[in-house]
């Protein structure tokens, strides 16, 4: 059984939702307080949505200094699966685990709404079970979700197939309609939409399952390989 740690910073608020999604997929998931410095024993780590440290200064800017982030960095460089959702994506970019930055939405308002995502790459721990071009209905919930990066980074993302999800209709003005990206190795993924909110047709969509199932089984798959 995959053991998943869901990191909780003061101000995180999607930790229980991420925990519930992981548990529903059969993972052994638990909350990890941000002061923890040792992630031994975990197969995968999620940085959930919310407002870590109140998003003071800017989203993710303070969370990157939480003690757990050194451990997350080591965990990632050792090949562990790391997923940053929404605020977690912002933290990963601030921590330098993913390139680029998330700026305010084009319309300068918070947006909570369903979006249709297109799977642009299956070469990541989040998208390995999906098919290229597959459309997934997954909600967004952010104020600063417009992905941006310099030209060299963008070219590199394209060249190495690191854009994993794009918006079919761009809600926030992100560069290249980017909704989620991965690192070069494919084991660290950040995305602004919330797959953990799309786990049940009772709540409108279960399209998030295919992404999170990929994520939960990825560590086992790489172990088998």
């Amino acid at each position: 059984m995959t053991r998943v740690g869901v990191v909780v910073f003061p101000g995180s608020n999607c930790e229980y939702d991420a925990l519930a999604a992981m548990t529903s997929l059969g993972a052994d998931a638990e909350l990890v307080w941000h002061s923890v410095t040792d992630l031994d024993g975990f197969d995968a780590i999620i940085l959930p949505g919310g407002f870590a440290h109140g998003d003071y200064l800017r989203p993710g800017a303070l969370a990157r200094f939480s003690p757990v982030m050194e451990a997350v960095t080591r965990f990632a460089s050792d090949g562990g699966s790391v997923l940053g959702i929404c605020n977690g994506f912002q933290v990963l970019t601030e921590a330098g685990l993913l390139p680029g930055a998330l700026q305010k939405n084009r319309g300068l308002t918070f947006l909570c709404q369903p979006t249709t995502l297109v799977v642009s790459s299956t070469a990541s721990v989040l998208t390995s079970h999906a098919t290229l071009g597959q459309e997934l209905v997954i909600p967004i919930n952010h104020f600063s979700g417009s992905y941006t990066c310099d030209d060299a980074t963008y070219d590199e993302l394209i060249a190495n197939d690191r854009i994993v999800l794009t918006y079919k209709e761009n809600p926030n003005g992100s560069r290249g309609d980017i909704a989620g990206i991965t690192n070069a190795r494919g084991n660290v993924v950040g995305l602004m939409p919330h797959p953990e909110r799309a786990m049940s047709t009772l709540l409108g969509s279960d399209d998030g399952r295919i992404l999170l199932e990929s994520f939960v089984t990825a560590p086992i798959a790489s172990f088998v390989l």
Binding site: G54, F110, L111, T201, L203
Partner: protein
């Protein structure tokens, strides 16, 4: 009467109240004591003008765990889960500083709910502004919505609905109400009671500053003097508005819930209106114990604060927990983890025997726990013994002329196509700014008849139950007849819950009225309470909490009476979403419920949105025939509940007929599905836009079976037409394309906000 030049007058106390304070104390109060009475005896804290009337409301029921008077009402929802609910106003702060006013309104209501031991699960926001052709109104709307969004999203509680009303009567006095529901394991229920002599009062959360001093008395318990409601709105009152910090509140919520989980708390109380004096005197009065408060132990945001400022400050994000001394270290450890400040500011003490030989539980404010006593006042005198006023009430003499000016009689029909398009407003611009989905419970979110949540959350026992919440108001009805208008508003709320399959279990209310010193306003308030009592008695619904917001006036003009009803319903088995408005090609459209209003006029237009848009604000309000109503409401509820339980059904869509009437309900279903309908000729122009409640548009793919089930229980059904095509046609009256309906509805609010 009060003497503005006197100290007590400046604190909002009348000369009579000043005399009463002297009688309570047996001496003249000092400055600090007078300040304590000034805030605790304010209208906002004491309900002194309304309390006599509120006693007429039904408040009990087998499932009611906590009724009015506590921080929130609580019902037993079954499966070991209790649901807490509370509604409040933050009207006057939002009029002056819309972002912070609305934000701190959210913060305050959350504290009321987690004070009961409940995790806040959802917020709803009924909002009332003036018409958007005025730039100030657009500024208010954007400020209030971004304040709710900025605070609510960050603090991590979803905002799942509300109401949006535009009417010129609110242009100088907008209303910002906020409702919160939370849930808790039944056994964790805690009350705001101090008990156990020797126990400690621990102040949790933010440091105390000078923000919000006099918020309840200076700001919330007096009208605005501004004549035009714009430039002359009282800038001097701005320092009475509090400033919110959602990150502090988020950590405070988590710390308090962890303290409650660990069993470390004897009682807990939030510090909102009237601050520390309210939190300490109310907990002490409820526990029948005294409290010594050391003002020097209160962490301060700035130097040089006087004791009266420390005791009455309304700085946000603060709680008082009553704990036993042996738990202090454990409480400090949990608070340290969450980076929440915790300071012992009070000691629970035994009641003391006064000079008159009478034993009283005293609130004593001290300069150090062993230091000088700065104020000494019976806790119950502050918390419970404010004077109660039976203020003069009089049916206004202008009302007869208003009633006689009935648009049903003589308002020209005009163009139903244009009228219908003008009535369509999609509030999505507002609710897209709110996180409506956190906690994975939102089955039906904002913008529908009622919100529907799974009854689940961290720490709750497993359950497949759901809860539904609706907020409803109709100031147009209540202006004509506050008694019947309020009763119909309650029915409208129950009907909204029926659309998502939930049975109403309890009511909370926020009574927004004008100046209670105006006899007409007191008459409206008293009538409204009677109407609520009649409707709730008729529907067997307990009222488990409420808030009264008076002095909603500006330049001497009172708002229309605006009682907001918050309805809480329960659905026993929620495994599939309700049908919503999603009718399909070929379905039959039926009207369920009494086709005609109860009276001589089948389709009254008095108080309708249609008439109000034509500046016809008069006319008679008509009720609903009780027999049809009492068959229809449970029938519709049962039909939807069956679908939510996972059973097959021929019912494909259900929508309550509310503001804007039948034509508007049909057009809304067209707009969200993109599928038109052909509706037969109605019985007259009035049927398009008449608004009396208890009616539903239902779509079914087996009309014979549906009608048979309705007939079995005596619920009236009338076939209206067929779903399909790219136009909505209603007889010869309405003929509009689906595209135009959808476009006008989607653009109405955005276009109005972007106008210059």
């Amino acid at each position: 009467m009060n003497s503005p030049a006197s100290l007590h007058g400046a604190l909002g106390l009348s000369d009579e109240e000043f005399e009463q304070i002297k009688a309570v104390l047996g001496r003249d109060p000092n400055h600090l004591e007078l300040a304590l009475f000034g805030v605790m005896w304010s209208e906002h804290c004491s309900y002194k003008s309304s309390r006599l009337h509120l006693r007429r409301l039904p408040t009990t029921g087998a499932h009611v765990l906590v009724g009015p008077g506590e921080n929130a009402g609580v019902i037993d929802a079954g499966d070991g889960i209790a649901v807490a609910i509370r509604i409040e106003s933050h009207n006057h702060p939002s009029a002056i500083e819309p972002y912070q006013g609305a934000a701190t309104g959210v913060g305050g209501i959350l504290r009321d709910v987690f004070t009961m031991g409940a995790r806040p699960l959802a917020v709803m926001d009924p909002l009332f502004f003036g018409e958007l052709n005025d730039a100030r109104q657009r500024w208010l709307v954007e400020g209030v919505v971004s304040g709710i969004s900025g605070y609510g999203n960050s603090v991590g509680v979803p905002t799942i609905g509300g109401e949006l009303t535009f009417d010129d009567c609110y242009s100088a006095n907008p209303l910002v109400n906020v409702l919160c529901v939370g849930a808790l394991p039944v056994e964790r229920l805690v009350l705001g009671v101090a008990s156990g002599v020797g126990n400690l009062a621990v102040l949790l959360g933010s440091r105390t500053g000078r923000d919000g001093i006099g918020g309840v008395s200076v700001l919330a318990s007096a009208g605005f003097s501004g004549e035009d409601g714009a430039a002359s709105i009282d800038e001097a009152k701005r320092p009475s508005v509090q400033v919110g910090d959602p990150y502090e509140e988020k950590r405070l919520i988590e710390a308090c819930l962890e303290l409650l989980d660990g069993g470390y708390v004897v009682g807990i109380q939030d510090l909102g209106g009237a601050g520390l004096v309210c939190g300490t005197s109310e907990t002490a009065a409820r526990g029948g114990v005294g409290m010594d408060v050391d003002v020097t132990a209160v962490p301060l945001r700035e130097l040089g604060m006087a004791p009266y400022e420390i005791m009455t400050s309304e700085s946000q994000e603060r709680m008082v927990a009553i704990i036993t001394p042996e738990n202090l270290a454990a409480v400090q450890a949990i608070c340290n983890k969450w980076e929440v400040r915790a300071s012992v500011v009070g000691h629970v003490v035994a009641p003391t025997v006064g000079a008159d030989g009478v034993t009283r539980a005293m609130l004593r404010i001290r300069d150090g726990f062993d230091g000088e006593i700065l104020a000494e006042v019976p806790a119950s005198a502050l918390a419970d013994e404010a004077p109660l006023y039976d203020r003069p009430r009089e049916r206004p003499d202008w009302l007869d002329a208003v009633l006689a000016d009935d648009p049903t009689d003589d308002e020209p029909i005009g163009s139903p196509n244009d009228d219908l398009l003008d009535l369509l407003v999609d509030p999505a611009w507002v609710y897209r700014q709110y996180d409506s989905q956190l906690f994975l419970n939102t089955v039906v979110g904002p913008g529908r008849d009622a919100a529907l949540l799974r009854l689940a959350g961290p720490g709750l026992p497993a359950s497949t139950k759901g809860i539904a919440i609706s907020t409803d108001s109709n100031p147009r009805w209540c202006a004509l007849d506050p008694r019947l208008g309020t009763a119909l508003t309650v029915i409208e709320g129950v009907a909204n819950l029926a659309c998502v399959g939930a049975t109403a279990k309890a009511v909370v209310n926020c009574l927004n009225f004008g100046n209670p010193e105006h006899p007409a306003v007191m008459w409206q308030l008293s009538e409204s309470i009677d109407g609520m009592a009649e409707a709730c008695n008729g529907l067997n619904l307990p009222v488990i909490g409420g808030n009264v917001s008076l002095y909603n006036e500006s330049g001497g003009n009172d708002i229309d009476p605006t009682p907001v009803m918050g309805l809480l319903g329960v659905i026993d088995h929620l495994v599939a979403p309700p049908p919503g408005w999603n009718w399909r090609d070929g379905d039959t459209v039926v009207l369920v419920g009494a086709r005609h209003a109860d009276g001589d006029v089948p389709f009254p237009l008095g108080g309708s949105r249609w008439a109000t848009r034509r500046h016809r604000r008069g006319g008679h309000l008509t009720g609903v025939e009780p027999g049809a109503l009492h068959a229809t409401l449970p029938f519709v509820t049962g039909e939807v509940a069956s679908i939510c339980a996972g059973h097959d059904s021929d019912v494909t869509a259900v929508h309550d007929v509310g503001g804007g009437g039948l034509a508007t309900a049909l057009a809304e279903m067209v707009a969200v599905t993109g599928i038109g309908a052909r509706v037969e000729e109605l019985e007259g122009h009035g049927e398009l836009f008449s608004e009396f409640p208890g009616r539903f548009v239902v779509a079914t793919n087996d009309p014979a079976a549906f009608s048979a089930r309705a007939a079995d229980v005596g619920a009236p059904v009338a076939v209206l037409g067929v779903v399909g095509g790219e136009r909505l046609t209603i007889g010869n009256a309405v003929d509009l394309s689906v595209e135009e309906i959808a476009r006008r509805r989607a653009g109405a609010l955005v276009d109005a906000l972007e106008a210059n």
